[in-house]
């Protein structure tokens, strides 16, 4: 019994080390794409759940096609990290050369659809002084939110009380909604996302 347990434990520790050291061998690659990688072979806009924007208009994700989009998932009752995420994206917006800025958009999707009504989003957009020509905020249903988060690799959880814990990330989607870049954590140096936005904008123009 003792030997069996020892053998089982060492097999487990090996399996554990393997599980910890790398992902199990999935056919999709979670996490940051390698530098200069191809766009994902799927489009986020294949998700067809219904959404509404800050003006209360019915939207699908497919309606975002045509521009390079920078996407993050936030919620308006988030007092600490979400405003900082938005600041990072605004910093990116200012740093874009005008030609790229004209071809880019920014999308904030609510993780908290029960409280984030379109009216609330509209108020939030105004308070955050977001340029409505370029920024879209979306609110949908709980299932649509979970599906989008699952596709973007964003984790979130409703805690006891009114807080949501969520991973901090933004993604760049090309004009067709394919993921060309993903960043976890604070934006920091913007060189890479700016380059990816530029490349994606150019790729669209070349089609």
């Amino acid at each position: 019994m003792g030997t069996h347990l020892r053998r089982a434990s060492s097999a487990l520790l090996l399996a554990l080390a393997a599980a910890c050291g790398r992902s199990p061998a999935p056919q999709t690659v979670p996490g940051v794409l390698p530098a200069r990688a191809e766009a994902s072979d799927f489009s986020v806009y294949e998700l067809d759940a219904p959404w509404r924007d800050q003006d209360g208009r019915a939207r699908t994700l497919a309606s975002l096609a045509g521009r390079v989009q920078v996407v993050a998932m936030v919620y308006t009752h988030c007092t600490h990290t979400c405003p900082l995420i938005v600041d990072d994206l605004k910093r990116m917006e200012r740093a874009l050369p005008p030609a790229d800025r004209a071809r880019a958009g920014f999308v904030l999707v609510s993780l908290d659809p029960s409280r984030d009504t379109p009216e609330r989003l509209k108020e939030w957009v105004a308070n955050a002084r977001l340029d409505r020509a370029r920024w879209t905020m979306l609110t949908g249903g709980e299932d649509g939110v979970r599906e989008l988060a699952a596709l973007l690799g964003i984790r979130y959880r409703r805690e006891a009380g009114e807080e949501l814990s969520h991973s901090n990330a933004y993604l760049v989607l090309d004009r067709g909604g394919r993921i060309v870049y993903r960043h976890d954590g604070w934006a920091g140096d913007l060189d890479e996302p700016l380059a990816r936005i530029h490349d994606a904008a150019e790729a669209s123009a070349a089609e």
Partner: protein
């Protein structure tokens, strides 16, 4: 005499009320009574309450999933939307509309993504179980509702986990709720897999930082000896919605 008639009347009335309130649950599902349990990574002090629910007695089989694919051809591997499943989707099947020979139809349906598993359960009028529901049901041995701290049971699970190979559903053991194969057959999807391993400090990149859930994760776990549970949580932390893995399947649940 009158008291016992009254008692009988009340019992019958309560029984009838209970039957009327219960959702229609097929014989392929087991009713799991509610209770409290302490998740391996507790999200605060105190245990979590799990409401009563129904759970499939067995993992969804290849044969069952084949019926789904034939009825909903948008879920065939040669037609599935790429956003819904990675390239390994149903890779183990001999063809897009064949799940293999008769004996293979009893294997668990693996190589399915979360999107696909969700769609199957919805097709059956069900849903995926939450992680809390799944973990709660998985505490049970053949005879006890909570055997998670029984060293002999944990040792059996270790042996099951380290000897995984393709086997038909019903190959492992039937727990006290009448549910088979929660351990040792296939890993299983849960509805809220992307609610797990979210750091309370959302300044971090905890979801992507595997190191956090290796060494440090054990220290944060509520039961450092429960290696099977730790493996499950570690496994789930690396999943995404499109992920397909040869050893990852699912079963469905239903509200009661």
């Amino acid at each position: 005499m009158r008291v016992s008639s009254l008692f009988l009347a009340i019992t019958l009335a309560l029984g009838a009320a209970g039957a009327a309130a219960a959702a229609p649950v097929g014989p392929e599902m087991a009713r799991i009574p509610g209770g409290r349990y302490l998740p391996l990574f507790a999200r605060g002090p105190g245990s979590v309450r799990v409401a009563p629910f129904a759970l499939d007695r067995r993992p969804v089989t290849r044969g069952e999933y084949l019926a789904f694919v034939r009825t909903r051809p948008g879920w065939r591997r040669d037609r599935v939307r790429r956003a819904f499943a990675g390239p390994g989707y149903l890779a183990g099947w001999p063809a897009a509309d064949s799940a293999g020979a008769a004996r293979e139809l009893r294997l668990p349906a693996t190589g399915v993504s979360w999107f696909a598993a969700k769609a199957y359960c919805a097709w059956r009028g069900k849903r995926l179980p939450t992680t809390d529901e799944w973990e709660f049901a998985a505490l049970a041995s053949e005879s006890a509702r909570d055997a998670a701290r029984d060293p002999a049971f944990v040792a059996r699970l270790l042996a099951l986990y380290t000897s995984r190979r393709p086997r038909p559903v019903g190959s492992t053991f039937r727990n006290v709720y009448g549910v088979w194969d929660l351990h040792g057959l296939a890993w299983e999807w849960t509805l809220d897999f992307n609610s797990l391993m979210v750091s309370d400090d959302s300044r971090g990149t905890a979801a992507r930082d595997h190191a956090l859930y290796c060494a440090a994760g054990v220290i944060g776990a509520t039961d450092a000896r429960n290696y099977p549970a730790f493996l499950r949580y570690g496994f789930r932390a690396a999943l995404e919605g499109r992920t397909t893995i040869d050893g990852l399947g699912f079963r469905c649940a239903q509200d009661l």
